[in-house]
């Protein structure tokens, strides 16, 4: 099975139902299937060996994605915010790409195709003879450049078999009624943008695209399009809640919105509490996944959120900050540095196994071990009930005098303080310890907290080695557009000797 079959099935079951809308442009499943097949013919005839999408999301994104799948070519969405030279260096790493670009004067005189003109041409071509069965399930469906927050971007490889395993394992075919619509505002180069296309198509849930996220526009679109489902990165959730508050709203008035999924970065506990209060009738799902695992591998569902919220047991309440339990077909293990499997409550590296787990890069090949386990490079632990908690990237671990300290552990304690909204903990250079613990903290509005009181607060629950030696107060933490905390920037700010003064 391959990705293009997902669309063939949807088009067979409901050819006239609307598949995707972006502003005034819309395509039904039948139309999407037809133009995707025509696009495949164009890609093949051009001699291209990959399809690169360098623009914002539009209905043509879906055409390019499924078209590449019919043609059996890797689809490569690239961050449209990159500079021209960054974009060029990535394109140079691709095999004969067919390039889509919104820019009129695309880089360096290379040939590129404007998405809207491309779609217009396809509609004249008529139907092409492409059968989904022709694409090899082991061929590469998607190649995604990782965000490269730790160096030169690597490109992750996802084969048709991985993506299809994810969809078949997590989505029921045609399970969405015609009244359902999902608002997609994550960028097309994020794995969540790709999995949203596939999940929505297979469940036959209409996609409403918001190409450039803006909280007020998101709210307007959700209302006008009677949106029932949405996926957001944590920073988007926070901004939506802020806009509603600024309007004086106690709760959002979006009666159709029944499901909000979030993921892609750490959600501060206070932010999810605020969001739950603002959307009391929506079910919240926290999704944890990686590009290398074809998106989601564990979920904290609406029932879990409710149970945690209503419980008086601190262990159960803490699950609000958990990423839930593995999807069916996914196994998760926590291991120590020597590879020994750890017990519940013990922190270590998170390993994952399952048919949707690709764990492969163009540059390095497969990183799966001989038993097909993939090391996520995330640290965390499982609790007694099997709920997974994240403690940060293993690359972010602070080594203080030979002792490993996970930033997440300290952040969680800081965020328990009533005067703190959010905290980011990093290692800074220390003559005495090699690295020392430091924190950037966003204080709650109207609260005055001192460095000393927070240090004392951390020492109440953690060993003294975990206590931040330096704390700065900031208005907000630096995130990229897909909700990933930019630890390098936090580190830089904290390493600055002048950064000792509160900056609010």
């Amino acid at each position: 099975m391959n990705v293009s079959m997902l669309l063939e099935m949807a088009a067979e079951a409901g050819p006239d139902r609307e598949a995707i809308r972006c502003g005034a442009a819309a395509l039904s499943y039948g139309e999407l299937l037809q133009v995707a097949r025509s696009a495949a013919a164009v890609f093949r005839d051009s001699g291209a060996r990959s399809v690169a999408w360098t623009g914002e999301a539009s209905v043509v994104t879906a055409v390019a994605f499924f078209g590449a799948a019919f043609a059996g070519l890797p689809y490569v969405p690239i961050n449209y915010r990159l500079t021209e030279s960054e974009m060029l260096s990535l394109l140079d790493r691709l095999d004969a790409p067919y390039v889509f670009s919104d820019r009129a004067d695309f880089v360096d005189g290379r040939s590129s195709h404007n998405p809207q003109e491309f779609l217009g041409q396809l509609q004249h071509i008529g139907s092409a003879d492409f059968d989904a069965a022709m694409t090899d399930p082991e061929s590469v469906a998607v190649q995604l450049f990782t965000s490269g927050t730790t160096g030169v971007p690597k490109s992750a490889v996802l084969r048709n078999s991985h993506l299809v395993s994810y969809i078949l394992g997590s989505v029921e075919f045609a399970s969405a009624g015609p009244e359902q619509a999902v608002l997609v505002s994550v960028p097309p180069y994020h794995i969540a943008g790709i999995s949203a296309l596939m999940s929505a198509t297979y469940s036959m849930r209409r996609i409403v695209l918001l190409p450039a996220f803006d909280a007020a526009e998101w709210l307007a679109l959700a209302e006008n399009e009677k949106v029932t489902h949405a996926f957001l990165v944590p920073t988007m959730v926070t901004r939506i809640v802020d806009v509603l508050r600024a309007r004086g709203a106690k709760t959002a008035s979006l009666p159709h919105l029944s499901s909000i999924a979030y993921g892609g970065g750490k959600m501060p506990k206070q932010s999810i509490l605020d969001a739950l209060a603002m959307f009391p009738d929506a079910g919240f799902t926290n999704a944890y996944g990686l590009t290398e695992t074809s998106s989601t591998i564990s979920v904290l569902g609406p029932e879990d959120h409710r149970a945690a919220l209503e419980s008086s047991d601190p262990v159960a309440r803490q699950r609000l900050t958990s990423v839930g339990k593995p999807l069916p077909g996914i196994q998760i293990e926590i291991r120590d540095a020597a590879g020994k499997r750890l017990q519940p409550g013990e922190s270590g590296g998170i390993f994952v196994r399952g048919e949707q787990v690709a764990g492969e890069y163009v540059e390095q090949g497969s990183l799966l071990d001989e038993d097909q386990w993939f090391y996520t490079r995330d640290d965390g632990f499982l609790d007694e009930q099997g709920f997974l908690f994240l403690e940060g990237r293993s690359d972010d671990v602070i080594v203080r005098g030979g002792e490993n300290i996970s930033p997440g552990e300290v952040e969680q304690v800081l965020e328990e303080h009533p005067g703190v909204i959010e905290a980011a903990v990093v290692g800074i250079a220390s003559e005495q310890w090699g690295e020392a613990v430091a924190a950037a903290v966003v204080p709650a509005t109207g609260e005055t907290v001192s460095e000393e009181s927070l240090q004392a607060f951390v020492r109440e629950s953690l060993r003294s080695s975990r206590m931040p030696e330096k704390i700065v107060f900031v208005d907000q933490l630096p995130y990229n557009e897909t909700g990933k905390l930019l630890r390098r920037e936090v580190k830089r700010a904290l390493s600055d000797p002048d950064a000792t003064q509160p900056c609010h």
């Binding site: 099975m1 079959m5 063939e8 099935m9 067979e12 079951a13 069965a133 399930p137 078999s161 078949l168 997590s170 989505v171 029921e172 075919f173 045609a174 399970s175 999902v182 969540a192 999995s195 949203a196 999940s199 469940s203 849930r205 489902h229 996926f231 499901s259 999924a261 993921g263 079910g283 799902t285 999704a287 996944g289 998106s295 989601t296 979920v299 569902g301 609406p302 999807l327 069916p328």
Partner: protein
């Protein structure tokens, strides 16, 4: 008799039904039928339509399993004819209640 391998696609010899193998029969050859007639490779030419109605049907998007749940098929195209393995009718799995995560 055929060994079912994951990813394998088969079609009915009596209707439009097509299936894809999700979980295979490991190394055991089985008799997979639709409407009582052995299913054929999806790439093969379809035989002439046979006379007479077939009983039952297969529904697109449903996942069919044998009672032991060792073999699983996804119906990628619905149509007439009950699916069976070694003479035993296949049932479809109930929808899973997973929250939408993307």
């Amino acid at each position: 008799m055929i060994v079912l391998k994951p990813g394998m696609r088969l079609k009915s010899a009596v209707s439009d039904v097509q299936v894809m193998v999700v979980k295979g029969s490991t190394d055991n050859p089985v008799a997979l039928c639709c409407g009582g007639v052995p299913m054929i490779d999806a790439a093969d030419a379809s035989p002439e339509a046979s006379e007479g109605a077939v009983e039952g049907s297969a529904l697109m998007g449903k996942r069919y399993t044998n009672p032991e749940q060792t073999i699983e098929l996804l119906c990628t195209k619905g149509g007439d004819g009950e699916l069976s393995i070694d003479g035993e009718a296949l049932g479809f799995r109930e929808a899973r209640e997973l929250p939408s995560s993307d």
